[in-house]
């Protein structure tokens, strides 16, 4: 048997050729915090929550190819602190008011806050002014919660073939925009059935007419923490192409 492995927090993790550190960990049932990763898409490496110490250097595990004999640290006070700070920065940069958000209980940002024990925002809040876009008959866009993971952008371009979303601006002014002359979602061919409508990890892209449909206690992350949902994040079969793969 010549199965290749690397060492993650003392556990030998097997991997297939081409798998990232994160994919191998998830496949082995080890939860890795993430926001911009989605098993059906190519890794993006922007949210940095999956950061691990790989052979002594911090690196995003979603974009680092697994290699035999790697020494990887993930569940250490140093890495967990880093992840908490990343979450706190995301929480103060947008307007994340969970009590009035329809995504509450289904939101990965919130669930990761619980998972990592983020008790406070720590930093001063930005309270940015980000008007919502309610122009579409079936979908509400609430930009207040956007974390710039680009999953909707990638889904719309690579799966739906519509290019509805894009990022604009630089640095702290970077923000999600809608690709229409008016800038309004209602003036695009966006549909509720689009892949881009299904992938938002937070509460930006919301279906209209069914807010708060699932009662508290029965929501996605009510019964069990996000780490218990590791099965849902496992990589898809190696043979299946991911959105955005080069032919």
């Amino acid at each position: 048997m010549n199965e290749q492995t690397f060492n993650l927090d003392g556990q030998e993790i097997p991997f297939a050729a081409g798998q990232s550190v994160m994919q191998a960990a998830l496949a082995a049932g080890v939860f890795v915090p993430h926001l911009c990763y989605h098993p059906e898409f190519r890794p993006h490496g922007s949210c940095k929550l999956c950061t691990m110490k790989i052979n002594g250097r911090p690196a995003t595990s979603c974009t680092t190819p697994a290699a035999a004999g790697m020494e990887v640290e993930s569940d250490t006070p140093e890495i967990l602190d880093t992840r908490r700070i990343l979450l706190q920065m995301l929480l103060v940069e947008g307007n994340h008011f969970c009590p009035s958000c329809e995504k509450s209980g289904h939101c990965k940002l919130q669930a990761l806050g619980y998972e990592l024990g983020v008790m406070s925002p720590h930093f001063n809040h930005f309270y940015p002014d980000r008007p919502v876009d309610a122009s579409h008959p079936d979908v509400l866009l609430d930009f207040n919660r956007c974390i710039l993971c680009e999953l909707c952008i990638r889904a719309s371009a690579e799966v739906d073939g519509k290019n509805v979303f894009a990022l604009s601006g630089r640095g702290i002014k970077k923000h999600l925009i809608v690709n229409a002359e008016s800038g309004k979602l209602g003036d695009t061919d966006f549909a509720l059935t689009d892949k881009a409508a299904q992938v938002c990890p937070v509460g930006v892209i919301l279906p209209k007419h069914k807010g708060f449909a699932v009662p508290i206690g029965q929501r996605r992350f009510d019964a069990e923490p996000i780490s218990a949902h590791v099965e849902e994040f496992k990589p898809i079969a190696a043979a299946a192409p991911r959105a955005g793969d080069k032919p």
């Binding site: 307007n95 994340h96 309270y127």
Partner: protein, 184 residues
Amino acid sequence: MTEARKFRIATASLAGCFGCHMSFLDIDEKLLDLLQLVDFDRTPLTDIKTIGLRGPCDIGLIEGGVCNAENVHVLREFRAHCKILVAMGACAVNGGLPAQRNHLDLRDILSEVYHTEAGLAHGGIPNDPELPLPLNEVHPIHEVVKVDYFLPGCPPPADAIWKFLTDLIAGRTPRLGHGLLRYD
């Protein structure tokens, strides 16, 4: 033999809805157990109006964010008299619902409510010297004073408040597990 000294707890609601205080009362019969361990100083539950008259407090629980000058005053008094200050609930932690006015201009808000909005009595913007002046923005309390612990939730579940206080009183770092730590 002297009885072990009880912890003194003070509580206040700033820019909050008193929901966190209701959740506190919702620990129900365990309140009797709590009363074996603590005395209450200034709090809406005792109606004591001034904090610290009977010595320093061990724990101050602050519900609500800071939206006006009086909130700043009360919060600073609590900080001065409490060894441990706790931000209790979403509004104290991140401003919560009141902070959703922060991207609006205060003058526009007052003008709309007291001058222009249809269906409201247009009596003019209140200007009584008794009324505290509103701040331009609502702030979480950690932006005004040092905060020792945060207890999120809207409101924090009664069990979370119980777990938090009993951990703190027993000298442990409060730890809320899954289901007790929540932001909504």
